[in-house]
């Protein structure tokens, strides 16, 4: 019984069939079709373009950082590249990619024919493209957090384009939130209630609500910075009567939930892939649902932990934020527990072990453990006021969570979907080299960032002292950055080549096959 129920929940039934969508698509259909697959594909493809851009920027400034001292980038160019890297990766690549993969899977999993509010999905896409164009022309250098009043006093007459881009990102994400929430509700209606709603439906409802609520403050930040820059208002500039504290609270009301915006869809992709690759239900359905709800609830109030070393927050409020921050551990661990318990319950099919999505999935779990455990010291005011706040410790933490987990999980989803929209399989060897290059590169990069951060290497500098504790990690981070770049290049070649020349996908691209030697996988009832 539980078995059947879970297959309904994980969406084994509706239209999963390999088809050559990409080969027969015209540009017009790709951009304007209301078919959920086309909407998702255009989101996925442009997210890869953003990844390529953001990654290329990173390689340029990583080359600058490889050795101490100023080499070939000035402070302004460095900071522009750094800001664009952050914004493109989070707003352009990570959130759109994870959400687009969800767009592709949701109708299949929830048993729907289409996405809800497709018009909002189109607008969300085009407004984001507008934001990116503004960013590229405006070339802001105020980092992705755009702290006022610094972001109102940076160089370049076009900085206001950066402020407007923030507003557009907020609108785009708001619309995506509407699509996700309404599609989840349509799934509830189609499936027969919340109790049988697939995990992806729960995740979409919660992340959709987070998007709708959290992007309102972000929109206000973008608009407020813009009008402040135009000297129409003075919300955030203390020299003209504005308040920095106000800026910090409003910004982080978006800024903290923002990290859950790619995180929750990535978890949803994991919950969708794992039972299908293993051929059996998750260890627990309700444990996952409870964890999603708690994650959504805890995400909202804890933004202020991002500025603990300021006097802006104090007293019982600061302590409450600290406690809730430490408690976020629980829903996150519930998810990880669920995944490991599922893996442990029955023998792992040989077919899963050999498949690339499964490998990426396991690596993602490893990275969420690696990056997540450090949250324990990050959340505490005392340790945060020592070596953590705004040293490389923080980029290490969020590269593990964002790229190591959410990004790689989205790639697992992409590899999984690949036969469904090309009708062909990717090249296994190239995909394997992509996988290993990324694991080695990411692990080295993140570990070395932790090492540099523990030695107080500050964020946002292009030039640094030749201290013994700093030189080696910086060189290693740069080297591993190039490994990751190489992996991405192989991925692009693989995807382009296999779409035409790859082996045609079988009717069921992901059959569950066991080793003959392994004991039966049917759970004893």
């Amino acid at each position: 019984m539980a078995h059947e129920l879970d297959f309904q929940r994980t969406g084994a039934k509706p239209h999963w069939k390999p088809e050559d969508i990409i080969g027969t698509i015209s540009l017009k259909t790709l951009f304007f079709s209301d078919d959920y697959r086309h909407i998702a594909l255009k989101g996925i493809l442009s997210a890869f373009v953003m990844l390529a851009l953001g990654g290329a920027f990173a390689l340029v400034f990583r080359t600058e950082l490889a050795v101490p001292g100023a080499q070939f980038l000035g402070a302004r160019v460095y900071m522009t590249l750094m800001t664009m890297h952050g914004m493109l990766m989070v707003f352009g690549f990570l959130i759109p990619l994870t959400i687009s993969v969800c767009y592709y899977m949701m109708p299949k999993v929830l048993g729907l024919e289409r996405l809800a509010a497709t018009r909002a999905a189109h607008w969300s896409y085009w407004i984001l493209i507008g934001a990116v164009v503004l960013l590229v022309i405006g070339r802001p250098d105020f980092t992705w957090t755009a702290y006022a009043p610094m972001s109102l006093r940076v160089g370049g007459g076009l900085v206001w384009m950066g402020h407007l881009a923030i507003l557009l990102v907020a609108i785009s994400e708001f619309l995506a939130g509407i699509v996700l929430t309404l599609t989840a509700l349509a799934g509830v209606k189609a499936g027969g209630g919340w109790k049988t709603l697939p995990m992806m439906g729960w995740a979409s409802a919660i992340v959709g609500l987070l998007l709708i609520i959290a992007t309102i403050p972000l929109g206000f930040i973008g608009l407020g910075l813009f009008t402040d820059w135009m000297e129409m208002t003075a919300w955030f500039d203390p020299a003209r009567g504005g308040s920095v504290k106000f800026f910090l609270y409003v910004f982080w009301t978006y800024g903290h939930p923002a990290v859950y915006l790619p995180f929750i869809p990535a978890i949803a992709i994991l919950y969708t892939l794992m039972p299908r690759l293993l051929g059996r239900p998750m260890w627990s359905y309700w444990s996952g649902v409870v964890a999603f709800v708690l994650l959504g609830l805890f995400a909202m109030p804890i933004g202020p932990h991002h500025f603990q070393p300021l006097y802006t927050i104090s007293g019982w409020y600061e302590r409450m934020v600290q406690i809730f921050t430490l408690l976020v551990f629980i829903p996150s661990v519930l998810h990880v527990f669920n995944w490991i318990a599922t893996l442990w319950s029955d023998p792992i099919p040989a077919s899963a072990r050999a498949s690339i999505p499964f490998k990426f999935m396991i690596a993602s779990i490893a990275f969420v453990i690696y990056g997540g455990a450090t949250a324990y010291v990050n959340g505490q005011i005392a340790t945060d006021s020592d070596f953590i706040h705004n040293t490389y410790w923080i980029p290490a933490h969020f590269h593990a969570m964002f790229f190591g987990f959410a990004g790689q999980m989205a790639f697992a989803g992409f590899y999984y979907l690949y036969p469904y929209f090309t009708g062909r399989m990717y090249n296994q060897r190239m995909a394997s080299s992509h996988f290993w290059l990324w694991q080695i590169g990411l692990f080295t990069k993140i570990t070395m960032m932790f090492v540099a951060g523990y030695a107080y290497f500050p964020r946002w500098v292009y030039d640094y002292l030749p201290l013994k504790e700093w030189v080696m990690p910086q060189m290693m981070i740069t080297a591993s950055g190039f490994l990751i770049g190489l992996g991405f290049l192989i991925f692009v070649i693989n995807v382009a080549w296999s779409a035409r020349r790859g082996e045609p996908a079988p009717e069921e691209p992901w059959p569950v096959e066991h080793d003959e030697a392994a004991p039966s996988a049917v759970p004893a009832e």
Partner: protein, 212 residues
Amino acid sequence: MEYALGLSGTQAFLMTITIAITVLGLVGLALALFMEKRWRPTYNFEYLFIAGLLVMAFYGDWASTSIYKAYQEDLRASEKVSGKFVEDADRDKKFDRILTVVAFQWGFAFITEEKEMSRNAAVVKPGERVLFKVVTNDVIHGFNIPASGITAEIDPGDVRELWIRAPGKPGKYLIQCVNYCGIGHAQMKAWLVVEGDAPTAQLNGGETANGA
């Protein structure tokens, strides 16, 4: 070396917990993948796990709060009080040196009690208890002394105090801004000069990589 927040003991323990959780998780994952034996955990096992996490969370909260409270009590600021310095002559007597720090785009200026100002160098004696009164008037700046293990940030218009015990070994120790404050951020650093002769740049009393 005495850390300003007195973290060395507790911090080592907290880091041990962090590493232990990482190893536990990774070993669990590896076993789930490679062990022959299959095992289906029960809900009770999960509840036990959550209980452990709750204990961990509340221990973390308690450890952090008590360390930070003790530090603030040395400043006679039982809470962080925004916007004004603590006026307390008895408190001030407990410090060997009081320096007013002006953080600006882009640098630090240190003003001694004798009203002498120095750009980018705070001169102290080994082992002194030093009180910093930090102000800024342009954008948000950071104030981080790696050798003392302390970071503070300051809003424009705000004031705040922090204290350290100066390193016992003479030398130059880094003071740096850790919040992006504009184009000159990378150059926004100063030296905590502990008097004596040791000409090299030091982070934690160590040597530089190239020996310069």
